[in-house]
């Protein structure tokens, strides 16, 4: 049976295309070439990822990063030496 648009949309959005067998995958690829709706759907999914990366990968302030790193390491060292167990690192 030929794959339907609905099936293809489901496989694309859930990233489960590999679960279809090789012949079915080939049919799906052909379908994507000729079906306008599915082609647009696939491009929209790709654009979603791109837009999300654009929106969330904001540059972080290097000074703030460094300060945070220092705080974490200092706190970790303090908690280490404060512990009574013998497992703490030797200086």
């Amino acid at each position: 049976m030929m794959p339907t648009c609905e099936e293809i949309a489901r496989l694309l959005a859930s990233e489960q295309l590999e679960q279809a067998g090789p012949v079915r995958r080939l049919l799906i690829r052909l379908h994507l070439l000729i079906c306008d709706g599915c082609g647009r759907y696939a491009r929209e999914l790709e654009a979603l990822g791109e837009t999300a990366r654009d929106a969330l990968r904001v540059p972080l302030d290097p000074e703030r990063l460094e300060a945070l790193e220092r705080t974490i390491l200092e706190r970790a060292a303090r908690e280490d030496s404060g512990g009574t167990s013998g497992s703490a690192v030797a200086p």
């Binding site: 339907t4 979603l48 929106a55 972080l60």
Partner: protein, 203 residues
């Protein structure tokens, strides 16, 4: 004889973490700080809250460094700890929203024979990039936690599907459902905003 568990993380780094080699621990903190901060921001935390939660995450990891066994990458462990802390931070605040409304919305886009009844408009129908970025953040914020986490880890942080499964402790099939719902939720939300934007512009 039982098979040896497979090491995924680099063995010498794993060993360094287990014996708490200060240089290696410092490198782990440095290398993972930006990703963790982004993931926390992506989960909807403010800049300050994100820094707090990331700090707690790394301290938890450092305190339990001896337990690290290298069977998953360091960053997979760290994401796991981070998401547990975030969901605790959100407990009771965020709606659990386990409805499956989106499944029906998607179904309604197809005819009985599985063809598009209401085909998508395509990625360029939304408006300018800056505006679409803003909309996307709003739409992300409206997604239920698990869906948003799955989407952000996969698309923004670029984790493999296997890694996302480990972090979220779900099966590959469940991850498929989460991603399907997240992506379609975002698509529908963006499309609605795009249509509304266009009508506003026409006024």
């Amino acid at each position: 004889m039982a098979a040896m568990p497979k090491m995924i993380e680099d063995p010498s780094r794993t060993q360094g973490i287990r014996v708490r080699d200060p240089e290696i621990l410092q490198a782990v903190v440095k290398a993972n700080l930006p990703m963790l901060l982004r993931a926390a921001r992506g989960a909807g935390l403010s800049e300050d809250r994100a820094e707090d939660v990331v700090q707690e995450t790394l301290l938890t990891f450092l305190a339990r460094a001896e337990e690290f066994d290298g069977r998953a990458r360091v960053r997979t462990w760290l994401y796991g700890i981070l998401l547990k802390k975030i969901s605790r931070a959100f407990e009771g605040v965020r709606r659990a929203q386990e409805t499956e409304e989106i499944d029906q919305v998607v179904e309604a886009r197809f005819s009985d024979t599985g063809r598009w009844a209401q085909p998508p408009r395509g990625p360029d129908a939304g408006g300018d990039r800056e505006r679409v970025r803003g909309w996307l953040l709003e739409c992300l914020d409206g997604l239920p936690d698990r869906r948003r986490q799955a989407f952000v880890l996969r698309e923004v942080e670029g984790l493999s599907t296997e890694e996302v499964c480990k972090v979220l402790e779900v099966s590959p099939n469940n991850l498929g459902v989460l991603l399907f719902r997240a992506r379609n939720g975002l698509r529908e939300c963006l499309e609605t905003k795009g249509l509304r934007g266009r009508h506003d512009a026409d006024l």
